[in-house]
Amino acid sequence: MTELNKNTLISIKNLGFSRGNKHIFDNITLDIPRGKITAIMGPSGTGKTTLLKLIGGQLQPEQGSVTVDQQNVHQLKPSQLYSLRKKMGMLFQSGALLTDLSVFENVAFPLREHSHLSESMIRTLVLMKLHAVGLRGARDLMPSELSGGMARRVALARAIALDPMMIMYDEPFTGQDPISMGVLVHLIKSLNTSLGLTSIIVSHDVQETAEIADLIYVIADGKVIDHGEPNALMNSSSAWVQQFMHGSADGPVHFHYPAPDYHSDLLTT
């Protein structure tokens, strides 16, 4: 048991959450190991982003618990939660850069807010982080001048500014051209090893995710359907997981939205 605790950074137990009358999560249990890249996959609308917000303590679960680094996130006082969040980086789908600040100031933002470093120290740190994502030359641009992929890389530089123990990626590959996609895949992998991070990727891009993930959880309809290493999942016994991992048009999830019989539907006038 102690062995498990040491190797597990985040442990989610019997988590339940619903929005309005819609159950998003129904009794989910999963563990995220320290130092690895864990992917959480599933079709759109299964609340993968919601899961990240629950881990970050931005949402309150209805039942169950989320434990990060042996602290129960939803029982922390606001000040404790804030100091835990300083150790968490999060990369939002849109990048969530502050639109009125330059690239440099965006990366400097968490440093200015949370440290009392000198201006030259901040400059050095910011340039180091920007260099790590390959955008040291873009420091004076404004967020509106960046492409989607660059914005995500700046956001990544900002997320690692405070040297966190973990980073959560919300759909990092969505809407990227092949080159920026490749850059991001490479960055996530290399940062994870070089900084000794724990990475959590929420995504439905099977190929890219399977390439770098050590462990994959597949979530659908509020439940964990399957989990394991990428190769194992590709050959999963579940037809549903097979369809998802291989992206087949038809399978347990039908191509057609439920509708009356085609022929009789056409003939009714």
Partner: protein
């Protein structure tokens, strides 16, 4: 019929819930004030976008409102041979009512809607959420400076509005219609009381600044994070601000000048 009551009940409950959220939001905003004092640059930036950028519309509107008051007032007053009290009429209407109220309405349209759209977009693009995840409280960092800027700007803008309006009345009344210059000012000075009229006008505009900033920031913060949600919230800001300013004006006027 039952359906109607059901809808009514639900919307009532939603409105109360919104009022509750708005109150909680206000408390959080006020709590952040001590954090602003060591970081005045945040406040100055907002004073610029909320206050400085509103000067033009306030000045021009004030000038025209004053000129219209001069013109209309002259025609009414000259019928009674009382045209030398024109200055008093212009100044009293501006200082007591039109200055605070009209500048609050313009402020809601110019600065309030901009605040709602800005905060709403920050929410829609996950900037507020992102700040929370960087362990920065977005209310303290984003909302409180804007709230204080609104609170400080409106009284200054309303004072400019009244001052320029009185000049506008002077241009029309004295310059064009031939009211005596001395009478214009002296009638004003004899009857406008510093405490009863001017200070009460300032108190009104502080109250309006409070309410308009509160509504604008809350609507932005509480918006649905979609482009449709932001555009609706912006409309609601202008409508609700205008309504609240006028209702509050009645209450404050009754308290200050009336014996209700």
């Amino acid at each position: 019929m039952l359906h109607y009551f059901e809808t009514l009940g639900r919307s009532t409950r939603e409105n109360f819930a919104k009022l509750g959220r708005a109150t909680f939001f206000l408390l959080l905003t006020l709590q952040g004030i001590p954090d602003i004092l060591p970081r005045l640059s945040l406040l100055i930036k907002q004073l610029y976008s909320v206050g400085v950028l509103s000067i033009l519309i306030i000045s021009i509107s004030g000038l025209f409102v004053g000129m219209v008051l001069g013109l209309q007032g002259y025609y009414v007053l000259s019928d009674f041979g009382a045209d030398e009290t024109l200055g008093l009429m212009v100044a009293a209407s501006l200082v007591r009512e039109l200055g605070p109220v009209v500048s609050a309405l313009l402020f809601a349209g110019r600065a309030g809607s901009a605040l709602t759209a800005e905060i709403g977009l920050m929410k829609a693009t996950e900037q507020l959420s992102g700040m929370e995840m960087m362990a920065v409280d977005p209310v303290r960092r984003i909302i409180t400076p804007r709230f204080l800027a609104g609170l400080m700007s409106l009284p200054l803008l309303a004072a400019m509005f009244s001052a320029i309006g009185i000049m506008g009345g002077h241009i029309v009344g004295v310059g064009m219609l031939g009211v005596d210059d001395g009478a214009y000012w002296s009638q004003m000075q004899a009857s406008i009381d510093f405490y009863d009229d001017i200070l009460n006008g300032v108190i009104k505009s502080v109250a309006f600044g409070f309410v308009v900033s509160w509504i604008a920031l809350f609507e932005g913060y509480d918006t649905l994070p979609t482009s449709e949600g932001v555009s609706r919230a912006t409309t609601r800001t202008v409508v609700n601000s205008a309504f609240s300013v006028l209702a509050l004006d009645f209450i404050l006027t009754a308290l200050m000048f009336g014996d209700i």
